[in-house]
């Protein structure tokens, strides 16, 4: 499980636009670096990021090797109701890591 830092308010007013910042540990190996033998180190990146809010998709990103290591993604969403905001990152092997945060909306 990669380390993750997520910044989003625990509480918000209904209709408030909140900023969400996410940071996940991952080397994002581009596939272009040459290793010690001269052969390219194979590509190994997180290529998908998804955010759902009480099950509904609110933000999605397709990432490419040009995204820096330890991908940092920030975006906004409207605080519509209390519930769960779920973040998932999927890598080139098809493996997904999921993080869940609660939000209280008044």
């Amino acid at each position: 499980m990669a380390r993750v830092l997520i910044n989003l308010p625990a509480r918000a007013k209904r209709g408030e636009i909140i900023e969400i910042k996410t940071l996940i540990a991952h080397p994002m190996e581009t596939g272009y670096r040459l290793g010690p033998t001269g052969a390219a180190i194979p590509r190994d990146i997180i290529n998908r990021f998804l955010c759902t809010y009480n099950g509904e998709e609110v933000f999605r990103a397709a990432l490419f090797p040009a995204i820096a290591a330890n991908p940092f993604i920030t975006f906004f969403t409207v605080a519509t109701e209390s519930g769960e905001i779920v973040f998932s990152w999927t890598d080139d092997h098809g493996e997904t890591q999921t993080e869940v945060r609660q939000i209280t909306v008044e």
Partner: protein, 154 residues
């Protein structure tokens, strides 16, 4: 055609370049060209005209280190049900391949603003294109100077 995420051509491009590297270990990675970037943009927008404006692409003009460059794209849009940004796509002209990221959003975003950190292999132009709910495309570009770090590992 699924215009949201140009994955299949990217994987082919990446695999081709990697295979090319395997054959020529001392050659620098195949760089995208402005033409490759134009082609990638064309695959996204099809026959539509891309208009300048409404999009603001923020990058430091002189980058401290090309390995980690903060980038923000802001699109002027009410983000209402009837008038909102559906996607933000970022391209570059001189990295090994032209795609940087593609973000999908909608009225639930509230604001069409995304930030991330990217890699830039050389001084080059970066382009951000927003697709709106009415099917129109808007863009902004930034020219960035990338210098090598002093005192590196190799």
């Amino acid at each position: 055609m699924d215009e949201r995420s140009p994955d299949p051509p990217t994987r082919r491009l990446v695999l081709f370049t990697a295979a090319g590297l395997g054959l020529a270990p001392f050659a620098p990675p195949a760089a995208a060209t402005p033409a490759a970037m134009d082609e990638a943009i064309r695959m996204l927008v099809g026959k539509a005209t891309v208009k300048r404006g409404r999009v603001k692409l923020e990058l430091p003009p002189i980058v401290e280190n090309g390995n980690t460059v903060p980038l923000t794209v802001t699109v002027d849009s009410p983000m209402s049900e009837t008038d909102h940004v559906t996607g933000i796509h970022v391209f570059n002209e001189k990295n090994p391949q032209p795609y940087v990221a593609a973000f999908d959003l909608g009225p639930r975003a509230g604001k069409a603003v995304v930030s991330t950190r990217i890699r830039l292999a050389d001084s080059q132009q970066v382009v951000a294109i927003a697709r709106l709910s009415d099917g129109s495309f808007w863009s902004d570009s930034a020219d960035v100077i990338v210098t090598l770090a002093a005192c590196a590992e190799g």
